[in-house]
């Protein structure tokens, strides 16, 4: 049944449906409504779990790590500075191959201080060894959260569910929260093979010499590559039960004849869908929704660009001094093709800058340029800057 819910409240109710035994979190905008709502569910007896109100995000990540290793399903959520504070633990969780699920309520990184949305935070921990799934809307965030537990527990890899701060977390949408029975049917109770147990003692987190370290890294990399199939399966099986798909690793929409593609991740896709309707006179284009940044779906991407002459990668983060983050990866993946499309790469909507509908037709005009746009912060008004900074 559809209910008008704020994204954060929907996530809290969904997390409760997944029956976590230990939840640990530290408040940070724009994640706060998620943990506040979980606290309420715990206080009202609607969610039976150990809710650990920690003294930092560093400890939030550490508590879920310890709890998951001791055999409990866990949940945490954070954003921005909190995610960066967790960074060392994030690598540790992933390298220890501990299945935990986290919501990242995407937000810009200080300095300069901004509490608003972009995706610099999750991009900054791209290489931590987590599965990263980006949500286009709140229904996807709900469904992806449930899928995330299944994926994490099947692959023994942590999953970060990325949802745009404010744009999703603080927005009311009609959302279907599935029945408990449906979720129970989809998500078996947490069974962790390497659970710490006094009856069968094991050691986790040992010292590796150079004789073993590269093999450990290889197996971690391979596990993420192998996770691609589990992500697709989890989405298909969820669709069979709920009737809804989140689009596996990557989806393509738009006319087959289009020669321009626009690839993005997160809630921007919703803006572009609306822009397609708003600007019917604009050139026909395919919209590519990248859901899984890690594992990075190279083959799916190569298939998705068939027939395209120009691909415009739109992202909400950058690597200063380099350019985009997703853009170069896309460019590298497509370089294996005999006739790859030209890849244009832009960053927009940084620090919560509005992404107006008319951005879309302006973007499409990049395809008319003689050279592909390597990278630009597309909506930066350089008139606001001193001449030497332009």
């Amino acid at each position: 049944m559809l209910k008008a819910l704020e994204g954060s409240q929907a996530i809290a109710e969904t997390v409760a449906l997944c029956r976590p035994q230990v939840v640990a979190a530290y408040p940070i905008t724009p994640q706060t409504h998620i943990v506040e709502n979980i606290s309420k569910l715990v206080a009202n007896g609607q969610l039976h779990c150990e809710f650990v109100s920690v003294e930092s995000e560093f400890s939030a990540a550490s508590v879920v790590l310890g709890a998951a290793a001791a055999g409990s399903r866990t949940y945490t959520a954070t954003a921005s500075q909190g995610l960066l504070l967790m960074t060392e633990v994030l690598y540790n969780i992933a390298g220890s191959r501990i299945p935990v699920v986290m919501t990242c309520a995407n937000r810009a990184i200080s300095a300069p201080l901004s509490i608003w949305n972009d995706q610099q935070d999750s991009m900054a921990v791209r290489d931590a060894g987590w599965i990263q799934l980006y949500c286009a809307d709140n229904q996807e965030a709900v469904d992806t959260t449930i899928q995330a537990y299944r994926i994490a527990e099947q692959t023994e890899l942590p999953v970060m569910v990325c949802m745009d701060g404010f744009t999703l977390t603080h927005t009311l949408e009609p959302i279907d929260i599935p029945d408990q029975a449906l979720v129970d049917n989809y998500l078996p109770p947490y069974q962790f093979a390497r659970r710490l147990d006094a009856r069968q003692p094991i050691s986790i987190g040992t010292l590796l010499s150079p004789d073993f370290y590269p093999e450990a890294r290889h197996s971690h990399h391979q596990a993420l590559l192998n996770a691609a199939e589990r992500i697709i399966e989890a989405d298909q099986e969820w669709q069979a039960l709920s009737g809804r798909s989140c689009g596996g690793l990557l989806t393509v929409e738009g006319p087959d004849s289009a020669t321009i593609g626009v690839l993005t991740l997160g809630s921007v896709i919703g803006t572009f869908r609306e822009a397609v309707l708003e600007y019917p006179q604009a050139a026909a284009a395919k919209l590519l929704k990248l859901r899984s940044l890690r594992p990075f779906p190279i083959e799916a991407l190569q298939q998705a660009v068939a027939g395209l002459q120009d691909l415009i990668v739109v992202e909400r983060a950058l690597s200063p001094g380099g350019g985009g983050i997703v853009g170069p990866e896309v460019r590298a993946a497509l370089s294996e093709l005999p006739n790859p499309p030209r890849v244009h790469n832009i960053a927009v909507g940084l620090g919560g800058r509005d992404i107006p509908l008319d951005l879309y037709p302006r973007l499409l005009r990049l395809a008319e340029a003689p050279q592909p746009l390597r990278f630009a912060v597309f909506d930066a008004d350089c008139n606001k800057l001193a001449p030497e900074d332009r």
């Binding site: 035994q21 230990v22 640990a24 779990c49 150990e50 650990v52 109100s53 920690v54 003294e55 930092s56 560093f58 400890s59 939030a60 550490s62 508590v63 879920v64 790590l65 310890g66 709890a67 998951a68 290793a69 001791a70 055999g71 409990s72 866990t74 060392e88 633990v89 540790n92 220890s96 710490l196 147990d197 006094a198 069968q200 003692p201 094991i202 050691s203 986790i204 987190g205 040992t206 010292l207 590796l208 010499s209 073993f212």
Partner: protein, 330 residues
Amino acid sequence: MSTETTISIAELRRKQPRFSAIESGHRACLGCGQALAVRLVTEATGPDIMIANATGCLEIFTTPWPESAWRVPWMHSLFENTGAIASGMEAALKAQGRSTKVLAFGGDGGTFDIGFQALSGMLERDHNVLYVCYDNEAYMNTGVQRSGSTPHAAMTNTSPPGRERMGKRHLKKDVINIVASHHIPYAATASVAYPSDLRKKVRRALAIEGPTFLQIHAPCPLGWGHDGAISISVARMAVESGMFPIIELERGELTGVMPIRKPIPVADYLRAQQRFRHLFADDSRAREELEHLQALADHNIEVYGLQADADDLRDTSGADTVRRGGMRWA
């Protein structure tokens, strides 16, 4: 009834089924106080425990993959999150209705300094965890650098004596009182030189539902600069001089101390270790620092009432701690 011994002490030792969570064959240095302390702690806990271990010597010398010296579930995550890892383990066990006791192991660097916030959070949230700090008074695993626990005037590789310095310029952090100020049920210090006192304190901590803390003074022959064969006597001198008071605190109140029958001069303790050798140079600053350290020990003896009554036969050092009220425990 015969009191004659029919079994040799060595044989008796072998036959005693005393559990230790740490196997022989680990790679600690000869005379390592920490390895001994771990054995003593886990002799008292038995096998139904789960350990969160901070980064440090203990983690390194017990788990060179694919080997492990541990006979209990054990997890090392990072340097500064041991209190939080233990909190998570405890929350999970609670949620699952399992009764295994969670222990957190950290060195002084991981406890006094980098892991202090996670420890404080764990204590404040009342997790049922025994946190054991193995205190060897410097960052030994990285090659002897000063920590918040390094005693005043001690030489380390980041507090070397020289023309402008006489070793560490600051005081040893009073972590036991800082921990006790969280008003946790039980916080105590112990020393590897007094094994029965140490084991008794572990049993006592284990019997308490809630956060407990044990700071164990554990010599590091390499870092302190003494022969591995004399670790125990060096540790005992730290206690007998008043430099390392053996105390118990319940809900923040002092409830027990180990008395010193006849305090020894601090210089005796210091002279046994290379890390204080610069204090025995013919130098007025060295003499001043020696006086300073003696004053610190005298202060400990005074504030904790460590000076035993020589006429009271029960008041022998190491015999037991003196109870000053608080919760009785057999």
